[in-house]
């Protein structure tokens, strides 16, 4: 018990300490978070009318980010998998950072769920026993199950690992390893189920195809590691914690292949839909060229094409991939490209035209943008804390009295 309280106090104390740069970073995030709280209040007193969403296009920026971030959460498995299945030495050292990222992403997803709901005050209606949980019929019920499960799995695996490092004990592989492997499988499930969430609606032909889950997973395994690489680069630069080149190289290889597959799948979809050009292709047509002269999303789509294809063409050359000045830029463009394609580029055209042929357009309101930025800020806020604490423990800066520093092996 004493160990636990001292873990908490040591952890908090370490996390709260930092230089000017750290406080400036956290401070600016806090400003955005306060802004988010204000617009969240607005949205929940006046209603969703303050957003750009309508009865026609009722999922917008929030849902797009939700879908994207589930991918980021699942993307953490690109660290856990090589570490535990292929016993990649460098990866093994940083697994816990991937788990922290997953925790953050899932928390952000849940915040976007709150932002998306018309009545967040009634979310308790979904809690079994006191509410009604429409399981197994509702895909959303599945999604809630897998997301919460993933959060719990990662929290247990991550913090148990940190706890052992802190106390200097030995990991009990008897239950730890099965949990780790479960979390690997579970990572696939969260994104598969999120894909099913929208691909099981024949009313929305743009989403209604079985390619959706695999497309979700490959884009997740491109965008997730791209974000992780960026985070690792920042960690390498700003902390004493050294992350092996082998880790970054493996991750960038994963990004490259998955991005390639993602582009291939998008291309397949375009060919299949536009060759026959049925009415069911109207959503995709709207995205690519516009419909009825309405073209709001067209520049976004082509921007994402340029970003994704451009990044891929450069990434396939090891010369660029291993150039650590170039790599962060390529990771950022990959990330941005996928964010557009899988976020707004996937969600919004699903509603255009409406199932009865009404064509309307959507653009996010200020409230939506600020709320989204605020949730991202909150995500970075907790990611910073989690990573900082984890690195402190891995470095041995935080350790239980008398315990040996084991972090760096």
């Amino acid at each position: 018990m004493h160990q636990l309280t001292s873990f908490a106090t040591d952890y908090t104390r370490y996390v709260l300490k930092g230089g000017t740069k750290f406080y400036a970073w956290m401070g600016s995030l806090a400003v955005l978070i306060v802004g988010m709280l204000y617009v969240f209040y607005l949205q929940n007193t006046d209603g969703l009318i303050v957003t750009g969403m309508t009865s026609q296009i009722h999922d917008g920026l929030y849902f797009a980010n939700l879908v994207f971030l589930v991918g980021v959460a699942a993307g953490a498995v690109t660290i856990v998998f090589p570490a535990y299945v292929y016993h990649h030495e460098g990866m093994h050292k940083v697994t816990v950072l991937g788990e922290m990222l997953a925790i953050t992403a899932v928390i952000m997803v849940m915040m976007f769920v709150f932002a998306h709901m018309g009545r967040p005050d009634r979310l308790w209606h979904m809690i079994p026993i006191i509410g009604i949980y429409n399981f197994p019929h509702s895909m959303l019920a599945w999604d809630v199950l897998v997301l919460n499960g993933y959060l719990i799995l990662n929290a247990i695996c991550g913090f148990y690992y940190l706890w052992i490092k802190y106390t200097g004990g030995k990991i009990n592989n008897k239950w730890f390893m099965p949990l780790v492997f479960l979390s690997i499988v579970w990572a696939f499930s969260i994104h598969t189920v999120t894909a099913f969430l929208i691909s099981t609606m024949p009313s929305r032909p743009m989403w209604f195809h079985s390619m959706m889950p695999i497309r979700f997973i490959v884009t997740a395994f491109a965008a997730g590691p791209a974000l992780i690489i960026l985070a690792f680069m920042i960690i390498r630069k700003n902390t004493k914690f050294w992350i092996d080149d082998s880790v970054i190289n493996l991750l960038s290889t994963i990004v490259t292949y998955c991005l390639g597959i993602a582009i291939f799948l998008t291309m397949s979809e375009v060919v299949v839909e536009l060759y026959a050009r049925t009415e069911h292709a109207n959503g995709l047509y709207y995205l690519m060229f516009g419909l009825h002269g309405l073209t709001k999303l067209v520049p976004w789509f082509w921007a994402s094409v340029v970003l994704m294809v451009g990044s891929f063409l450069l990434l396939i050359f090891p010369k660029f991939r291993h150039d650590y000045k170039m790599l962060p830029i390529l990771c950022a463009t990959t990330f941005a490209g996928i964010w557009i394609e899988k976020g707004m580029g996937l969600i919004v055209p699903g509603f255009i035209p409406s199932p009865i042929g009404e064509v309307t357009e959507y653009y996010p309101s200020f409230v939506e943008v600020l709320l989204t930025l605020g949730i991202w800020a909150f995500g970075f806020f907790i990611l910073t804390i989690l990573l900082k604490g984890a690195i402190g423990i891995l470095l041995g800066d935080i350790k239980y009295r008398g315990a040996k520093a084991v972090a760096t092996r």
Partner: protein
Amino acid sequence: MIPDEKAPTELVKTPASADPAKAVLKTTRRDFLKSGGMLSLSSLVGTGALMAQTGDAKAAVEWAEHFQKNYRLMTKEEKDEARARLERRYSAEYGKQVTVDTTDAQPGVLMGYALNIRKCIGCRRCVHACVAENNQSRGKGRPGEKIEWIQVLRMERGKFEQEKMDHGYPEGLGIQVGGNAYTPAGQVLEGQYHYNPEKVPEADATYMPIACMQCEKPPCVKVCPVRTTYREPDGPVVIDYNWCIGCRMCMGACPYWARRLNVTTPVLPKEEMNPVTHYLGNRPRMRGVVEKCHWCLQRSRHGRYPACVEVCPVGARKFGNLLDPESEVSKILERKNVFRLKAELNTFPKFFYFYD
């Protein structure tokens, strides 16, 4: 607009049925009980007491509403309590005696609807009758404050033309793989919803009203994470507005775009509010929940035609009991050629389109 001492008693005698004609014709007490529109005494007392202290009452009632169960799981007593609570709140809010009916599905009734698509002239009277009956938000200010459950689609009659005979697909490549001598024709679900000519029907157009199809296998019910929307035994798919979390999965799943979201607190002027309501039907909704057509449950549970049927000037709208072979919908299914919209989706609507 507080009625005098005698007025509320009079009103209570009026069945919560949508058939006030009975009231006009001086309904007997027995008739009224038979019609099922019973009103608890508590609501009457409560209304009187609460009209004076609106603010507190509203807050207390809303607080209690937060903790009520899903309608389907409520016991008889809980339903009565919830109803009394709502009646009190609505009566205070709208300044008139509001009834919230909780009549269950009547045995032997399965509601069905048929629409003669050849007759429809696109006048949108059904749309506005629906709004007058069902207490939808009707603000004129911000977009999203006006909700209509019925959409009327205007489609071009279309034609094939000599001049366009040599146009073809794909244009510009020099190889003609298809013809393009047409303009859109037929039921293509592509057209105008915002048409506004001086007079309808226009010579070059056909019209197709679309609303909830009350599917036998409703996709919206399947996706609801909290089972707040479900199919009632007599057919209509309903929503417990107090249980809805506003996740909008149902709106995404509906192939007929039948559901609307209350993006803000509904704008419903006191004088326009319809005081005869049903718990699962037209009672005033709140911000952030989804709503849709329920075939005027507050009327149809008491045998009355839905509002849209009654105002259609051309009699294109038909409503009846599918289990009664003598009903108008049964006769239509027996005699006319009918189709279901998007039949390929296996939603099995109980709303049929037919031709003469």
